[in-house]
Symmetry: C2
Subunit: 419 residues, 2 copies
């Protein structure tokens, strides 16, 4: 453990030094690295695919298959997407340096709040190797040094990708240590990273609920908690049934494995009889399993009985918990009790209910008459996404480039002392 | 421990319920509570002083004296200040509800970012009972429920103050649980609070370095780290010596026990001979002990020899570490190595050095030609101060009311689903 820590401390020291240089690099040069890195990914794709095949082979030997194996797999198309992602980041506006406000105080001091990089960003993530290029690009654009600790399953792929990026840094005269990959994928190395307060300014876990929980519980470095979404759609009193059905079908089935997919449908009791049979038919036609409360099971004969556990579960699958509520109050109470604070939608034509839902539901994104699937950096127009925060400190909801920055106060005086 | 946790969970549950009500309370009513609470502090000052005398007696019996005892002591003047503080908070603008931006997306979704309260704010603090009224007032104004855990030494005083505040809440029809005091002042209760992720949105430690370290290391709740300031003044090439002397004397001696006081003076080698003897004389006339490097000890015969430890120490006392540096690079390197990231000042008439210092020094507040003592919510014009953050996540430097808020995304649709 001591050895691990010392080893990781080296990463920390190097990152800190690199971060100081990066903080002063003009955006043109950062963009040059991003574009070069994109070129390198394409140029060296043979090598990347070769390394990726080692990961795939190891995973197959370990019995991994299906969606998990697919996540790990790279091909020319996926490498092209990674490269394209870097080029798109290069085209975004650089938030660093912006003076958010500046004012003159009565004593003549000129005080300004200026956006600066966070410094050193640690990211702990799981199988998908494309996260490596993506996160590195976002950190670089915002002038942050990145320490990446990907999963053991993707180690060969991640190494090949980081080499491309480091090569681009080197060619552009920027410190290679701006992007470092922790090659020790033991649990100890993750734990050591979580304790590196001296070097890391923030730690972002990207992955499943288990990883996120472990980071939140063990990290002394400030964490941005991302991802878990037990999202709700509440059918209150839509002006037309079609809109309600379209929204729940979209929120549940458009991409069931992601965090902004709906997991529970709440229906006002006055709507239940006319809405539920038709909506559940549309859902089960798309292979969605319905788990309902007693009322639902009466109206929808093929529904299974929901248990207390169902209300709290993020299925990430074609399963939907369904409950009939007495009122908007009961709907909001249910959401407050079971929601992870990600995204919730009301479908209604009642103005005061819409206002109340927006005001009272305490989640990162609250919707009136739209699918929860829109909680996404790109859909929100940020041009990029670092992850979706479900905590309230620093960043909430989809995080774009700005969320990878902090600010400092710059103060111009001419000899002021405090009286 | 399990009992403690259950007990604290009750605080958490009550706070959560109160926070939901508070989030929707218009500012007029919040101000009414603040003004009533101020009245109550004055009206019941006899009772508060009586309770305070119990704390004072216990502290005396435990051998507490001097500054520590003074911090604990209340009198009519101090209670009047607390009341005045609450009235001032009532006069500030309420940040809650502000729509930071709103835009229409190509698909017609109207997406806005709206400022909302954090929810439940936990504060762990030490001896000074005035912190109780102060923090409770700031949380209330921003629509947050507060769970306050003050020190054992001030328990009677804190209880009396919180009763006044709760009474005002009750009279105004707001939930009394908006402000709760944890009366169990054991270490276990503090640790239990640090693990209440389910109920607390943020935990703010206010007190000495030991308290802050313990909270950062043990809390799984997101923390805002406040306070420690190993602040530097760098005399580069001032246009007049007087300005340099005034600034270091002010930064060191104006109030040596606070976090924005200077702890280390760095002097460019070209300035050392003319600046140091005069500056150190002015400092030692104000009883400042000088601990210098070799060069300093040569120029200032009464200086003590500084050790490596001195560069890293936040004295909070009339002691100053002094070092001669070869260049601005060495000054910046020294600061990056030893600073706690609070406040640093350069005194110079060199334009490019001023720019470099502002750009390269990675602290919450960086000054040109002014005293570090200005790093303060009131001096920055925020009208209030929650503390001074030395981390980069969420808030950096002096925290005002805005820093006790987060945002949520409110989205207005008319049936949009994701394609």
């Amino acid at each position: 453990m001591a050895g691990k820590m010392n080893n990781l401390e080296e990463y920390g020291k190097k990152a800190k030094i690199a971060s100081r240089i990066l903080a002063g690099i003009p955006v043109d040069r950062k963009n040059e690295v991003l574009n070069q890195a994109a070129d390198h990914l394409i140029r060296y794709q043979g090598k990347i695919l070769e390394e990726n095949s080692k990961d795939i082979k190891a995973a197959r030997n370990a019995g991994v298959k299906g969606a998990l194996l697919d996540r790990l797999m790279l091909n020319e198309g996926r490498i092209a997407s990674m490269a394209e992602g870097l080029r798109q980041i290069a085209m975004l506006e650089d938030p660093v340096g912006e003076v958010l406000w500046m004012k003159q105080r009565p004593n003549g001091l000129l005080i300004g709040q200026q956006r600066v990089p966070l410094g050193v960003v640690g990211v702990i993530y799981e199988a998908r190797p494309n996260v490596t290029a993506d996160v590195a690009g976002l950190c670089l654009k915002t002038g942050n040094a990145a320490i990446l600790r990907g999963g053991r399953e993707a180690i060969f792929s991640n190494r090949a990708i980081v080499e491309c990026l480091q090569d681009a840094l080197k060619k552009t005269g920027l410190p290679e240590d701006s992007i470092q990959l922790v090659t020790d994928t033991s649990r100890e190395s993750a734990l050591a990273l979580m304790r590196m307060n001296q070097y890391l300014d923030v730690l972002i876990p990207r992955g499943g609920a288990g990883l996120i929980k472990s980071v939140v519980e063990n990290s002394t470095v400030p964490v941005i908690e991302t991802g878990t979404g037990n999202c709700h759609v509440f059918i209150d009193s839509p002006s037309d049934l079609r809109m309600g059905i379209d929204i729940i079908v979209n929120a549940k089935t458009h991409r069931p494995g992601v965090c902004n997919a709906a997991e529970t449908l709440l229906v006002h009791k006055d709507m239940a009889e006319i809405f539920l049979p038709e909506a559940c038919r549309a859902l089960s036609e798309r292979n969605v399993e319905i788990r309902g409360d007693e009322k639902v099971c009466t109206l929808v004969p093929y529904a299974k009985k929901a248990t207390e556990e169902d209300w709290a579960t993020e299925y990430l699958d074609l399963i939907l918990a369904v409950r009939v509520v007495e009122s908007i109050d009961e709907a909001i109470d249910h959401i407050q009790k079971y929601s992870t604070g990600h995204s919730e939608a009301i479908v209604t034509n009642d103005y005061s209910h819409a206002r109340r839902f927006l005001q009272e539901v305490d989640s990162a994104a609250v919707y009136v008459n739209a699918s929860t699937r829109f909680t996404d950096g790109f859909e929100f127009g940020f041009g990029a996404e670092v992850g979706i925060s479900t905590q309230k400190l620093h960043a909430r909801g989809p995080m774009g480039l700005k969320e990878l920055t902090t600010y400092k106060y710059i103060v111009f005086g001419n000899g002021q002392i405090r009286q």
